[in-house]
């Protein structure tokens, strides 16, 4: 039995998918609470767009370097802010999610639980974890990190820069840096020209503009004389206490380049931490070296088999990149489609586009994806790292230690975590779980079930004890307040420790 709901729907994440779903629901009269980790709406793709527009003309150079794809998010953000019925809670992390629609939140030193009959998980993507020797050195960063520093920090890289990996983002970032007058020493790509020819077979007509845009970036980088190498492998970062050089194999020979900043990128994968913590079913994609949640087209998630923490039907839908990597436009289309499915369930669907139509928008927006996946296959994560490479960044567990334990016959993620502490550090396995799963799959490709991420229990993000002690929204049936009156036998005269 559920407590009185706090809203008709709770949305986790205020990126394109979350904003789009919130607008759709609220404009049909639903009360929506949107929780987001960042201080302003937009997600990572439109990160700090509001602030950067307001700070003009100081930010003119930055906005022009980030290009029209970034500024395109402005109308969506404006509508999100202006739509009545949306209670937007920025700078709020979610540390618990349950299939019955209960959400644990934290904002500064305040925490609590909220409940709604519908929850939309729109928590976006993360970069595919790519362990290689030296990836923990100061000076090694992801392409997403550098983009965040550009958008939210108004910072550009300086010094000797190498970009390594694959995916449209690395080429986009290089072109943005070029516009800011930053010239990388090398763009080292794991993908090859033959990947592009193979990929052309999967090119959907709607993908042609994106393809032309990508070719434009490449042409401008060539014109600017930025050195580019394709088909690289064996990436290593070197230095004592900080990055000083990178090494890789290119065209059959080893090259070494002095460098201050190595920017790596190997594509993005759905962020599944909350879905997994809620007990939702994930599927392992071998070729993509990642998990994604099992959902219907309208985003409805299903419970993983086995015992669950909550009873009753699953009230969670997953949308945007957290469901399928598709980028901002696909996220907006899917957020709308998922919200439409909820409105139909609530009987609010009158005057709304039919589910068939919004579903077609989703399919169309995702149609370019097979081409991109084939043109930029995982590269840095194509092979498992050598024994000396750290896999678990937090606890500094090497590939060699994991291999040794697996060769001894261990095939269970949680047993390896409990024994070696891989995945037991501050990030709670976000950076190493997928790599460990790849080791297990390599050791036994015929195992009956692909591995699941490490078992997750709330809080899945840090929760200060003070916030825990003063939590609001607790279910009185589950939370019992203990006082000294409950334990009269503990009160002994003059005993200050009672």
């Amino acid at each position: 039995m559920m407590l009185a709901p706090d809203a008709d729907a709770i949305i986790i994440g205020a990126g394109p998918a979350g904003m789009s779903a919130a607008i759709e629901l609220a404009s049909s009269g639903c009360r929506v609470i949107v929780l987001d980790m960042q201080p302003s709406p937009g997600g990572q793709v439109y990160r700090s767009l509001d602030e950067n527009m307001q700070a003009r003309p100081q930010t003119d150079d930055l906005l022009s370097a980030l290009g029209p794809a970034y500024s395109a998010g402005l109308p969506l953000i404006a509508r999100f802010r202006a739509t009545p019925g949306i209670e937007y809670r920025p700078s709020t992390t979610v540390w618990d999610l349950r299939a019955d629609g209960t959400v644990g939140w934290l904002d500064g030193e305040a925490a609590g639980y909220l409940r709604a009959p519908h929850v939309i998980l729109a928590c976006g993507a993360m970069e595919r974890p790519t362990p290689f020797p030296g990836w923990t050195l100061p000076g090694v960063m992801t392409a997403g990190a550098v983009q965040t520093l550009l958008k939210a920090g108004r910072l550009k890289p300086a010094g000797r820069i190498v970009l390594a990996g694959t995916g449209p983002l690395i080429v986009l970032l290089a072109d943005q840096l070029r516009r800011l007058g930053v010239r990388p020493a090398l763009i080292a790509r794991t993908d090859r020209l033959k990947d592009k020819f193979t990929a052309l077979k999967t090119l959907h007509p709607t993908g042609v503009p994106a393809l032309l845009k990508g070719l434009g970036w490449l042409a401008r980088l060539r014109l600017a004389g930025v050195p580019m190498q394709t088909g690289i492998s064996g990436l290593e970062a070197h230095g004592r206490g900080r990055l000083t050089s990178v090494r890789m194999i290119a065209a059959g020979r080893t090259i070494e380049i002095a460098c201050d900043l190595l920017v790596v990128h190997d594509g993005i994968v759905p962020s599944t931490d909350l879905a997994h913590a809620a007990g939702l079913a994930l599927e392992w994609l071998k070729d993509d070296a990642s998990w994604r949640p099992r959902t219907t087209l309208d985003g409805r998630a299903e419970m993983a088999p086995g015992p669950a923490l909550t009873m009753g039907p699953c009230r969670i839908r997953i949308t945007g990149d957290a469901r399928r990597i598709g980028g901002a436009d696909a996220a907006v289309a899917h957020g709308r489609h998922a919200a439409g499915a909820i409105l139909a369930e609530l009987g609010h669907a009158a005057g709304k586009p039919a589910a068939g139509l919004t579903g077609i928008d989703v399919q169309r927006a995702l149609a370019t994806r097979p081409f991109l996946d084939a043109a930029f296959p995982p590269g840095l994560a194509a092979q498992l790292p050598d024994d000396a490479a750290i896999v678990c960044r937090c606890e500094e567990i090497t590939a060699g230690a994991l291999r040794a334990m697996i060769q001894d016959g261990t095939s269970d993620m949680n047993l390896i975590r409990g024994t070696l502490r891989c995945g037991m550090g501050a990030c709670q396995g976000r950076s190493c779980a997928a790599t460990l799963a790849r080791f297990l799959m390599e050791a036994d490709p015929d195992r009956p079930q692909p591995p699941s991420p490490f078992r997750a229990r709330p809080p899945v993000r840090p929760l200060p004890l003070g916030a825990l002690a003063n939590m609001t929204g607790l279910d009185p049936e589950l939370a019992q307040i203990e006082s000294l009156d409950d334990k009269p036998e503990a009160i002994i005269e003059n005993d200050t420790h009672a």
Binding site: M37, D61, A65, A158, L261, E396, A426
Partner: protein, 100 residues
């Protein structure tokens, strides 16, 4: 490693290990310290290796730092505040007065 696009627009001061660092309202601690050229935010509890932010979006927890006396907080998710006192974190977080 990083420099501002345009002017830094610093309007406030924060402190890292007692050293004054100019900061811009609204930026994250991580961005502010990277602009200032800080070489590491923490050392790891296991080997003592130096770390800087890696993902900048709250996933990797490599940007942990002590903020106003509380250790192991994510510099990429917390905004600068006037007079904020940061400390480079050596190894695990410590709690004042407690030997843990």
């Amino acid at each position: 490693m990083f420099k501002p696009v345009g002017s830094a627009e610093a309007t406030m001061t924060i402190y890292l290990d007692g050293r004054a660092i100019p900061a811009r309202a609204g930026e994250t601690i991580a961005a502010c310290l990277l602009r200032a050229g800080v070489t590491h935010f923490r050392t790891t509890p296991v080997s003592g290796a130096k770390r800087l932010p890696y993902c900048m979006i709250g996933h990797c927890f490599d940007c942990l730092i002590e903020i106003d006396g509380i250790g192991s907080r994510q510099a990429c998710l917390n905004a600068v505040e006037i007079g904020m006192r940061l400390r480079t974190q050596d190894g695990p977080a410590s709690i004042p007065g407690l030997d843990v």
